[in-house]
Structures are given as structure tokens and as C-alpha cells.
Symmetry: D2
Subunit: 336 residues, 4 copies
Amino acid sequence: MFNIPEGRKLDCIPVGRLAIDINPLVMPQTFAECNEFGKYVGGSPANTAVGLARLGARTGFIGTITDDSLGDFCLDYFKKDGIDTNGIFRAEKNIPMAVTFTEVINGKTNLMLYRDRITADMLLKPEDISEDYIASSRSVIISGTALAASPSRDAAFKILELARKHGLLIIFDVDYRAPIWSSNEEISIYYTLAARYAHIIIGSREEYDLMDCAYHKASSDEETAQRWFNEKAELIIIKHGAEGSMAYAKNGERYKIDIAPVNAVKSTGGGDAYSSAFVYGVLAGREVKNCLELATTHASLAVACNSCSDAMVDIKTLEAALAKAKSEHGELVNKF
Amino acid sequence: MFNIPEGRKLDCIPVGRLAIDINPLVMPQTFAECNEFGKYVGGSPANTAVGLARLGARTGFIGTITDDSLGDFCLDYFKKDGIDTNGIFRAEKNIPMAVTFTEVINGKTNLMLYRDRITADMLLKPEDISEDYIASSRSVIISGTALAASPSRDAAFKILELARKHGLLIIFDVDYRAPIWSSNEEISIYYTLAARYAHIIIGSREEYDLMDCAYHKASSDEETAQRWFNEKAELIIIKHGAEGSMAYAKNGERYKIDIAPVNAVKSTGGGDAYSSAFVYGVLAGREVKNCLELATTHASLAVACNSCSDAMVDIKTLEAALAKAKSEHGELVNKF
Amino acid sequence: MFNIPEGRKLDCIPVGRLAIDINPLVMPQTFAECNEFGKYVGGSPANTAVGLARLGARTGFIGTITDDSLGDFCLDYFKKDGIDTNGIFRAEKNIPMAVTFTEVINGKTNLMLYRDRITADMLLKPEDISEDYIASSRSVIISGTALAASPSRDAAFKILELARKHGLLIIFDVDYRAPIWSSNEEISIYYTLAARYAHIIIGSREEYDLMDCAYHKASSDEETAQRWFNEKAELIIIKHGAEGSMAYAKNGERYKIDIAPVNAVKSTGGGDAYSSAFVYGVLAGREVKNCLELATTHASLAVACNSCSDAMVDIKTLEAALAKAKSEHGELVNKF
Amino acid sequence: MFNIPEGRKLDCIPVGRLAIDINPLVMPQTFAECNEFGKYVGGSPANTAVGLARLGARTGFIGTITDDSLGDFCLDYFKKDGIDTNGIFRAEKNIPMAVTFTEVINGKTNLMLYRDRITADMLLKPEDISEDYIASSRSVIISGTALAASPSRDAAFKILELARKHGLLIIFDVDYRAPIWSSNEEISIYYTLAARYAHIIIGSREEYDLMDCAYHKASSDEETAQRWFNEKAELIIIKHGAEGSMAYAKNGERYKIDIAPVNAVKSTGGGDAYSSAFVYGVLAGREVKNCLELATTHASLAVACNSCSDAMVDIKTLEAALAKAKSEHGELVNKF
């Protein structure tokens, strides 16, 4: 289904935020009641990079981290997982990193994004982007967060343009985070510009509606998928929260994906696990159905874990978990 | 050559800066030696709008002006020329307008752009843009200046997207002004995103090189034209200063355009006169060769005048000037 | 009454805005109806500097101008009047100068301040301020405009502190301009910090009320004067518009100052003329009563003129005008 | 020695940052090696407030916290210690709090200040400040951090002015944090403006040198003290790191203060403990010598503890620790 270049050094380069999560060591807990916190690598594309690397993809990254002990920790964590860090830059001294505090209050996950427009990740500059680095990869994943403000926004469009020039498979993972955007119209304008480059778009129904809000009224999943098939998209994944997700392929195939049974301790990390397993499968040449099975199973593993990045598993563990889920639940992915 | 919708209320909507020029009443003079200055409507797309309206096109405008006597003057000037002002908005009180001081020092025109990123024109907001207003026009001209900063940049992309949705002829007039941009990479990134929507692109060789600088090495005119023909472009105009300009059509036609003989008192305004006459001709269904003749003649009239907006003429005057220029100079436009 | 150092190179250093006014060549006129404009040096402390120099004071200046033809013109204008320009700095390229458009609408003067917080005058930096330059002067005049934003605000406080260290006579000319301030509380806070350094404060009743608004309820002129006498003030001038002004001295003297008869063409420039003549008189060791007579006469000359800076006269002209005003009007200044 | 009003509801109002520290549960540890972190109320004036309250002073606070779970935790922590929270405000949603990560690397404490100019504490506004609240207290402590940027800077000067109006004892605790300031000149300018209000100034030798840098060359402790005695200061404390601190009184008394013996696990928190015990003693009417003994002992207790705010003790514990220190070490404070 996908036209993916071969013979390149890297399989995938996620782009965007690489930062720190401060979570209770044992979830679920509120910030107030917790007395022991853990530190974890966070940021949606960072989690996805860790997931890809552990599953076996040759993974790079493009992003900006701080020039302090938190930045050092992020870099070391990536290196331990074998992620290529040549596309990771350091912000100037005293620029802080985005820090996310996670807590669970009455069963609801509450993310406190400690960041603003001058955290390190938003300072990725177009001048940092190397055409050779992009050209060395089979695919790239743009996280919507990277589009929230310049210069990171500018750098993201440069990456998309270079990825197009060199024929990479382009995945757009919408990853909407409200506090970093100024208005819904701004979101719609830049999501639309980015989505037009993408072969695969992964987002929730709400995220597609946001993407459309400056241009189109509420759409059905079918209409959304059709609209992007008129551009470069080959596959559109639309998530519906607890009801699972839908995948629409340009070739006419449609899949309904259930959520694998799970004891969730928080709601975060599932999306990143989903993306990493799905993209891993695509790059490994697997059937779309299997890619989607791996994705939903990986997501279930992540939400059952206190961290996001630490939750990512290797392919054997993932396939064992998928087999178990299918034996207990039946098919997770069905054509319709 | 062009696919232009019919049956719409307006022929063209230029987008961007509508502001004030303070020029010596008699040019050429330096700022220091001049004791009598005139006030003129300025801004490249504003001049183009005046040109279009006087030549006979039903002209609208999208832009933001100040809530003061300068804004009032701009609005009244447009109304006198019959320009539709329903797309013109007022900035909040105390936001200044971009003001340009023009002088000629030793034969060289010196523009002093009195503006920064929070002048009124840069405050055009996506929320201001009406889909119905865009849909009421046959064509739109985006001035590159409008892309220099948000929220004007965001609004410009919304206009491009809506223009595409409603099938308008899209003209991108690069209009590079150095002081309002942060870096060449930023220029290249946003010019490229905008140019991809355009059916007609008008710029100087230097402007095309800027547009390319993040992605491509120096190109020949042929290479530049070919690259944009692979997108949506039908016609590419590349200006070469005193040596005239070149026009490349997707259907293979190529034109060399000479500058009509002129006693210039300044170098500004010529580009806006060129664009307005060329677009006028296209919308009137004239042959490309005639459009280019009108354009170069109109440019020569403008640089001989103390103002830019005041220099614009009606179609009879322009055709008379063209006839005179051809009788003195011979053909201004030649196929090659 | 005042303790003013002798034996210094300069008599006075005004501090703050040195910029351009664009006024109709003939006043009164509206912006719309005027077709011939003049350019004039403007900015309240700049006008005061010109006034001081023409009256005969050895005058310096501290401020930041643009690195363009407008800045050149300001500098040349000052040099022609013999003003010492060693304390004048150039902003970085492409930083615009504050430009003020003046018009008269239905008898009311309308100032359009074309500036924002990054015009050149607001970019005066503490690092620019030379202790030796301050120490070379007998007095300094701080314009309240210089306090509106950092770094100019920071530089103004450095100047006040150095002026105190070296025993200069310190004059605070409130010069309130609404559009450049964020809130009335901010005004009150920084005016109060600055006024505490001053030996002479010159302002309107409204300006003193603004100065007080964070700390005190509406005060009478007597209460205002008494409050500042408890700090460093020796003389407080409070203006009451068309009803003239009042002067309160710490030694108990009180003066009522009438406005000299005049055919005003605009309302601006009078305050600057007033300050320059009053401070000139003080520095020349004249009686307070005579200083106030010169001040009110100079103000009347200025409002009858199309420009502010061009309106300033020499001491012979001023004394002749004073004599004429007294012969027609009687005493302009009366003790009470 | 001090003229302190009686009969007021509160003894002291510290002003400035109330925020969160994320420290290793067990110190010393580096960020990388630590897997279990604690959350603590932090911010120098917040720690001082906790110290004052536990020692027995009736303590208020003026500052701005976030509208999230971190802000809730800070407020609850203060309430448990009986601190009056009527002067504490909430920032708008999505404004982050300053977060400080503390680690010890090779015996050296490394503070990572995760903040920039729009963290909640810098958003304290002059409009928030109630004159009645200031008037209800016997004293106020201004932390130099509050002066680093507007609007917090503006609010701090309003508090100083109101404190002067109502006769409060004013303590200026310099608390220099490099990353939040733009330049040394700016620091010197605003520290000097604030210090002029203070009856007691507490700072390190380096902090006094910074305070002077725009105006004076390097000074001895004697010169520094004398300079501020010429303003409103009654007592000047100058810290010299491991060599202890010096106190100079306007009445001529001089004290050398040694550091009480301690096993420090970090270097932070000592200054806040010192200030709280010293001010507590002054407000309780104790002899200066005893105030200084309590201060240095409290500082030693704090640096031996993993947190700053949690380290603060009650007066019995502090006096017992002082007695123990004197029995082991001899006199901690000596006149000279």
C-alpha cells in the first residue's frame, strides 16, 4: 500500500518534543497525596521514538533539549535504546525544558504541562535541520505539537518539504495539546498545511474536527478520510476514545479496531504506543491488519504502566501480549 | 490558459498592506533637503488594488488599517476608486500603521519602512476572513509581505486555502521587504508553502532564489519555472531589474519583456503597476503577450510619478501609453 | 532657592525622546485635507533642548535615534543649534523612530503617536549612560515619557541616581502620553520613584493625580506641593490648562501664572517651551517670578507656530515678547 | 534599634515567589542517579514565611501561584502552618509555576530554575496589592527575585511605597538568581531603588557588589554599610559564604557571625532560614546578637535537610539547637 524507500540508514525519524514527565512512582495518585515521584523521558514523539527503537526499528530523532542535567538524562536514555541522536540539539543555557506533571484525580488523568512558547522544544530552528539527515531515513513522523509556535513550526515545515523531496513516508500524528495554541483557527490552518504532506494521518475525531474548523463543517469519518485521500494520504486512522479506532485506506479497505482489555492506571502514553507499533509494522512490511493489532495492544500495555516511555516493549513481548489478548478477547481488528 | 471562474461579484481581491507613504512632493529629493511632503496611500497590494480598479476591474481588498485619521484617509481613497472595502478591518486603538518614507539619494531610491511586527497590517486575523467574501471573487493576489508574521501569516494561509476551495485564480506577488523578516530560511519556508497554491507567481530573480534557499541551490529561470509547473503554476514571471523580465508559461510559451522608455524619478511603484495591469489583462481574457505589454508600460508610468498609488491610470491612458511606447521603441514583448 | 553646581561644561541635559513630527505646513488643518506636510524635530525633551539652546543655555542631550535619514536630520538639527550630541546614540538598523502626526480637527489638536515600545527612543540602554557626561552638567531634565518602558526606564533611573550622586539640579517634566503606558498603576509607581529625586517638578493637575493614583486620593494643589516638599522638591509647578498654572516653592512663596494672549494654531509645544524658558531662567539665576514670566510667554509663542521645535526663540525675542505681553495684558505672574 | 509599629494583626509579610522544588528524596544525589523525588514548597520568600510562622510570628504573604494542583498544594501547605493567605493570588489558567530541580553533583549544589518571565510569580500585579493588607502588618520582606521583571517588579515597588507610608519595618533580602535577569546594570538599578526603602538589608558580598555595579566601584563592607546608613538602613548584614557573615548597625555596633557546625547535604535553604530567624528575633524584640545567633543556627539546620521549607523548625527546637551549638563550638556571634 505504501511507497517506502529502501536502503537507507534509518527506518524512522520522529520530530518534536523530548522532555521530562514527573509522575507519581505509583499510579493512580494525585499530586497532593503523592510523596514519591519518578522522572521519565516524555513528549509524545519521544515516547514514539522509544517504542519504535525497542520494537526493532532503526530510529533517529529531531528535536531540541536543554543544556542541563535534564537534557543529559534525556539524551542518555535515548542512547541506551540505540536511538540515533545526531538530530538532537541543545537550547541556550537557562532555557527550560517542558516538564509535565501527571496525576490521576477521581479516575481522571490530569496533565499539567509546565511549558510555554520558549521551552527548549519550541526552539528547534530551521537552520538546525540537515537535508542529509532527512535523506538518510525511510520515514518521518511529525507531531502536531511541533507546529504550535515558531521557530519549531518553521523547522517542521522544512522537514516536511525535505521529506517530500527525498520520498520519505510521512506520518502526521496530530497530538493536540490545548495550552500551547493561541486559537482554533490557527490550529486548523497549520494542521491543514502539514496534513497535506502526509501519507498516514493519526488523530482522534476531535483532532480531525479541529483540523477542519477554519474550512469545513463537522464531517463523518468517511468524509474526512475521502478529503485527505484527495491529497497525498494513503491511510487515515481516526480514534474514538473508549470505543476504539477506525482505519480507512485509499484502496477502499476499512478496519474497526477494538481496545485490548487492560487495567489502566492513567490515560496517557497509549497514543504514542499505538503510533510506534503501527509505524513499526508498516515499515516492517506487515499487513495493515496486523499493524493495527500491534498498535492497539501496545497502547493497552502503555496505559497500564506508571510511565509512558518506560512502558514501551520489544516485539516479542508485544506479540505475546497480542496473542494473549486475542485468546481472551477474540479478534481486535475487523474489516467492515 | 487560465481556468478562471465567471459570474462572481468581484474580479480580484488583493491581500495585505494598506498604509501610508510620506514622499517629497517633488521627486527626486532627499529627506533632509525636502521641506514639502505629500501623503499617499501605499503598500504594494494597496497600490495594485488601485491600479486594478482604475483599469476597470471590480476590485476588493483584505487587510487591516488603523483606527485613526490615517486609516480614514486610506479607506476614503479606496472608496473614491470604487474599491469594495468590506474586507478591510480596523486594528485596536493606538496600534500604528506602517508608514514608509521615500527619498532619492544620489539617484538611488531609499525606502524607510516605519513599521514593525505589530503595525496594523500584520494584525489581520484568520477570524476576520469571510469564506463568502473569498467565494465572491474570481481571483486573489497574495502579497508576500502578508506572510512575514502571525497573525497576518495565518490569515494569508486561510485565504489561500479558501481560494483553492472555491476555485479562484491565485496570484502570488512575492514583494520581498527585508526588514520585516527574521531569517532567509523562514522566508523560504513560508514563500514555498504559499507559492504551492499559486497559478501565477510574480517575482524577481532574487526573490525566487530566496524562496528556494532552504531547499534548492541557485537555479536558472527555466529550472525555477519548471519546478513550479510541477505544482499548480501556469505562468511564472521572473524580473531582472533594468534588463526587463521573463515570462514562462506551462504550455511552453516564453516571453522576454523590455522596459518601456521612461524618465524615472524613483524606483518604487513599478512592480505594483506591473502586477495590476498584468492581472487586469488576464482577468479581461487578453492574450498573455498583451497582458505583459500593458504591465511593462504601466510600470514605466509609475516610476515617473512622485507617488505609487496616485500613478495608476485608466485603461485608455494605459493603451495610449503602450501605443506610444511601441511607436518609439518597437515591440516591448517578444516570444523566444 | 536652588542649589546648583557651577563650573561645569554644560548647563542642562534633557533626557528622552528625539524624534520626528509630521505636521501640515499650514496649521490648523486635518490630515485628510492637508496636501503639504512639513517635517520637524519633535519629542518633548528634544523641543526643550532646542528651546534651552536658543535661549543661551549650554545644552546637551541623552537619547537614542534611528540609524537612517530621519536620525541624521535630527542630529544635524541639534548641531545647528549648538547642542552637544555626545549623549545621543543610534538604534540598530531597521528599528523605527517614533513619528508623530499632528492635525487640528474642529479646533482640537489631535496627536497620532506612531510608535510602540520598540521605537528607537525606548531603546536607550543603561549601558549607554556615561557617568562623566552626567557629571559634566549643572542640571538634568527627565521627561516622563522616558519612564514608559525598559530599557529606557532603566536608563532614566540610572541617570537620576548619577545626577543625585553628582549634585545636579534635577527637573522632572511629567509629559504624560497615554498610548505608551500599560496601566495607571504602573504610571503612578514609576512617576513616584522618579519624582522623589526631583528638585523641580512640572506637570498638569491631571498628571499629578496620575502620579498619585496608586497611593493617594485626589489632592489639592497645596497638598500635592507639600507632599513633594517632604521629599527633595524645592518648587512644584501645576498647570491648569486654559486657566494658567500655579507654582509653589518650599520657602512658602506661591505664584499664579496667566497665559499670555495668543492666536494658537495648535495646543502642542507650549509645555516644552514653558519648561525650557523656566529652566533657562533658573540656571541663569533669575528670580522665580521672572522665570515664570519667560515660561508662559515662551509657551504662547510656541502654540502660535506650526511646529514645536522651530517655534523656539532666542532670549532677546522672548524678552521683547514678554514686554509686549505685559504692556497689553498687565502682570502675567502674581504672588498670592 | 528599630522603630516597629505595634498593635497590628500580622507581624510580617514576605513578598515574592511561592513555588515548587523537586528534590531527590535523599540528598545528596544527582538528577540522573535519583529515582525517587519529593515535592516541596519552595521559593526564597515562601521558605522564609514558613520559617517565620513556625518560629511563632503571625505571618502573611503576597505572591501569585498557579491555578492547578501545584498551586493548591502550596496554598494548603501554607494554611497548615497558619500563614495568612489573603495576599495570595492565582495566575490565569495554563500559566506555569516556577519549578526548581535541585541536585548535588560532586558535592556542589546545582539548582535548575525551571521558569521564565511569565511564570506565575512574576505575574503579581500592582492592582492585586491591597493597601489595607500592607497596613495590617508590622513588617514586610521584599525578595530581590520579585524585582526581576514587570509586573511583579511594579507590584514590589507599590508594596515598598505603601509599607513606607504605613511605617512598616522594611527588610530587603537580596536573593539574587542569575537566570531571571537581563543584565547587571538592570540589577543594580532596581536593587538600588528598592534598597533605599529598607531598614534592614540582607545579602552576600557578591550581591552588594551587584547592587552597586552601575554606580560605585568595589567597596569594603564598611563602605557598603555606611552608604546605606545614609539612606534609611539601620542594620546591614553581609554574608561571606563559608567564612560566616558580618552585621553592621547604624548605631556603631558590629558583629561577626560564625556558621554553626553542620553536616550539609545541600547549600540551599540556609539563607531563607537565616532571614526568617533573624527577622523573627527582631520582631520579638530580642537583642541583635541573639537574633544573629538564631539566624546562623537556623541556617545550619536547613542545609542539613533534604528540603528547604520542610527544614524550618519551631522556636524551642531552634533554641535547643543554638544551645547545643554554643556548647560545642563556643560563641557563634562576636562583637568587634
